[in-house]
C-alpha cells in the first residue's frame, strides 16, 4: 500500500510538472509581447525594453523556463506582470472562493446524482424512472449560464430569497452551487443508473439473490459498489469540468475565483498568473484523481495494485 502511494505521489508530481511545462511552452508561443501590454499604449521603445528586462522576458526561453521551475521548487510562484504583486497572493485571494464553489457543487452532484441514479435504476421503466430521466436530461441540456440566469430571475428578482451576486456568505453560495451542482448531478445520475443496471445483470448478482440475500443488501453492498467504478471515473473528470464551469459561473454571479483571473490573465499574457492558476488546477485535479484511483481499490477488489 505504501509503495503504491509513493508511486502515486511521484506520478502526481510528474503530472503537475507536465502541465506547468506544456502551458509554459504554449504561452510562449501565444502571440503578443507581455512587455508591450504591461508598458501600455504610450510607452517608448526604451520603456518597453526596460519593462522586458524587469519581467525577465528578454531572456531566452530555456532560461526563463529554468528560472521559473527553480523558483517553483522553492515555492516561489513569481510576480504578476500586470499588478506586480506576488502571484501566490493573488491566487490565495481567489482560491477559497473557487474551492468552496467547486467542492460544494461536487458534493451536491454526488449526493443528488447517486440518489437519483439509484432510484431511477431500481424503478426502471416506471414513472419515477421516467420522471428522473426526463429531469436529468433537461438539466444536462442546459448551458450553465442559462440555468444561472433563470435561477437569478426566479430566486433573486422574483422571490427575493437569495442574493444574485458576490461572495462571502453561505447565502451567496446557494445559487451558483445549485447552478453548477444541478447540471453535474444530471450527468452523474444517468451514469449511475446505467451502471447499476449493468451490474444488476452480472451473474454474481443472480448468485447473491439465489443465496437468499435481501434485495436491499444486494443493492447497496454489492451492486452499487461495483456500479461505482465508471461513476467514480466520471467524478474525477467532473472536477475538471466544474473548474471550467466555474469560469462561467463566477462571471455570471460576480464572484471571486481563479476562473476569472485566468481568463483575464490570458488576455494580457500575464504568464506568471496563468501558470499559478494552472498549477492550482493541476494540484487540485491530481489530488482528487489520486483519491479516485485509491477508491477504485476500495470499491472493487478486482483491481490489482
Amino acid at each position: 500500500m505504501w509503495s503504491y502511494l509513493a508511486y502515486r505521489l511521484a506520478g502526481a508530481v510528474l503530472v503537475i510538472y507536465g502541465a506547468v511545462t506544456i502551458v509554459f511552452l504554449v504561452l510562449y508561443w501565444l502571440p503578443g509581447d507581455p512587455a508591450v501590454l504591461v508598458a501600455g499604449e504610450s510607452a517608448t521603445a526604451e520603456t518597453i525594453a526596460n519593462v522586458r528586462r524587469q519581467l525577465g522576458t528578454d531572456q531566452p526561453l530555456w532560461q526563463q523556463y529554468t528560472t521559473y521551475i527553480s523558483g517553483l521548487v522553492q515555492g516561489n510562484l513569481g510576480v504578476s506582470f500586470s499588478t506586480r504583486e506576488p502571484v501566490s497572493g493573488r491566487l490565495w485571494a481567489q482560491v477559497p472562493s473557487t474551492l468552496a464553489l467547486t467542492l460544494l457543487a461536487c458534493g451536491v452532484a454526488i449526493v443528488l446524482g447517486i440518489l437519483l441514479g439509484v432510484t431511477a435504476a431500481v424503478n426502471k421503466e416506471r414513472w419515477l424512472d421516467h420522471l428522473i430521466q426526463t429531469l436529468t436530461v433537461f438539466v444536462t441540456a442546459m448551458p450553465s449560464f442559462w440555468l444561472g440566469i433563470l435561477l437569478i430571475m426566479v430566486f433573486s428578482v422574483g422571490l427575493r430569497w437569495l442574493p444574485a451576486i458576490g461572495n462571502g456568505s453561505i447565502k451567496q453560495l446557494v445559487l451558483p452551487v445549485a447552478c453548477l451542482g444541478l447540471i453535474a448531478s444530471g450527468r452523474l445520475a444517468r451514469m449511475v443508473r446505467n451502471s447499476v443496471l449493468d451490474v444488476l445483470h452480472e451473474p454474481f448478482v443472480t448468485t447473491l439473490r439465489a443465496k437468499g440475500l435481501r434485495e436491499r443488501r444486494v443493492l447497496f453492498r454489492h451492486v452499487l459498489r461495483n456500479a461505482l467504478i465508471p461513476v467514480v471515473t466520471l467524478l474525477g473528470m467532473l472536477i475538471g469540468e466544474l473548474m471550467s464551469g466555474a469560469v462561467v459561473t463566477e462571471t455570471l454571479f460576480a464572484r471571486q475565483g481563479v476562473g476569472r483571473i485566468l481568463v483575464e490573465a490570458i488576455g494580457v499574457k500575464d504568464i506568471p498568473v496563468i501558470q499559478g492558476v494552472i498549477l492550482f488546477a493541476a494540484v487540485f485535479y491530481v489530488f482528487i484523481n489520486t483519491l479516485v484511483d485509491v477508491s477504485y481499490v476500495w470499491i472493487d477488489r478486482r483491481v490489482e495494485l
Binding site: 506520478g11 510528474l14 503530472v15 507536465g18 502541465a19 506544456i22 504554449v26 504561452l27 508561443w29 501565444l30 431500481v122 426502471k124 421503466e125 436530461v137 433537461f138 444536462t140 441540456a141 442546459m142 448551458p143 449560464f145 442559462w146 440566469i149 430571475m153 450527468r187 444517468r190 451514469m191 446505467n194 449493468d198 444488476l200 445483470h201 448478482v205 443472480t206 434485495e215 467504478i229 465508471p230 471515473t233 466520471l234 474525477g236 473528470m237 475538471g240 469540468e241 473548474m243 471550467s244 464551469g245 469560469v247 462561467v248 462571471t251 476562473g259 485566468l262 481568463v263 490570458i266 494552472i278 488546477a281 493541476a282 485535479y285 491530481v286 484523481n289 472493487d300 478486482r302 483491481v303
Partner: protein
Amino acid sequence: MSGSTGAWSYEASFVMSRRIAGAGLAPFDRPRERWQVTLAVMPRLSLLLPMLVIALILACAAVPGWLAPFDPVDMDGDAILQAPNAVHWLGTDNLGRDVFSLLIYGARQSMLMGGCAVAIGGVVGGAIGLAAGFAGRSTDVVLMRLLDVWMSVPDILLAIVLAAALGASLPNTIIAVGLVTIPRYARVMRAQVIALKGRLFVEAARATGVHPVAIVLRHILPHTLSPMLVMATLGVASAILIGASLSFIGLGVIDDRPDWGFLLSQGRSYLAVAWWFATFPGLAITALVVSVSLLGDALRNRVDPRLRTDQ
C-alpha cells in the same frame, strides 16, 4: 416513421421487456403479460418523438433554405425584438432577424459542432483508452499520465489558447471542443477495458491463445460500446454546451448564421424584455440534447451484448 425503424423499436422493446422480466429488480410477482404489452408500446412512442426531432433538425441542417421563411441574414430595422406573431412565428431578435429562421440555419452549425467534436473526442479518446487499458503496464502509465496532464489544464484555457492562436472560427471551435473532450472518452474506455480484462471470458480467450487483436475486437470492444455510446450521445450535448460557454465568455464564432449556443448567449440579456430571443434557442438545444440522449439509450439497449448472451 418508416417500417424499418418501426421494426427496430419493436425489437428494442422486446429485448427490453425480456430484460425486465428476466433480470430486473422489479418485484417478480407482477403479471408479466401486462408489462410486456405496455413496454412493447411505450418505448416505441418514446422513441418516435426523439427520432422525429432529430430527423427534423437534420433536415434543417441539410436544407435550411427550403424550410426557413426568411433569410436569417436579413435584418429588418422596423421589426426589432418583436414578440412571436403571424409573420415571425418565434419573434425577432435585437437586430430584427427572424428567430425561427435563425434557429433553422443554426441547426447546421450546432450539428456540425456537436457531431464533429464528438467524432474527434470519441475516436481519439477511445483509441487512447483502449490502448492504455488493454496494453496495461508502462503503456497505460505513460498514456494515463499524459491524459492527466491534459485534463489538469481546464477546458476553457485550452479553448482560449486555441482561439488566441488560430482565431475564432467554426472549425477551430470544433477542434478545441473535440480536443478538450478526448480524456473523458479515454478514461471511460480504459475503466471499461480494465474491468473487462478481469472477466472470465476474456481470460479464457487469452488462455486459449486467441490473438490480442481478436480479443479486443471480438470480446472487449463490443462490451465497451454501451458506455461509449452513452458518453457520445451526451458528448454531442456537451460539445454544443461548451460552444455556448465559449460564446458566453466572448470567444464564440460571430457568424451571420450563428449556432444555437451563440444565439442563446446573445439573447440572455434580453430575457426580461424579449423572452423569446433566448428561450427558443435554449429550447432548441434542450430538444436536441434530450432527443439524442433518448436515442442513445435506445441504441444502448439494442447493442448491449449482454442482453443477447443473457437470453
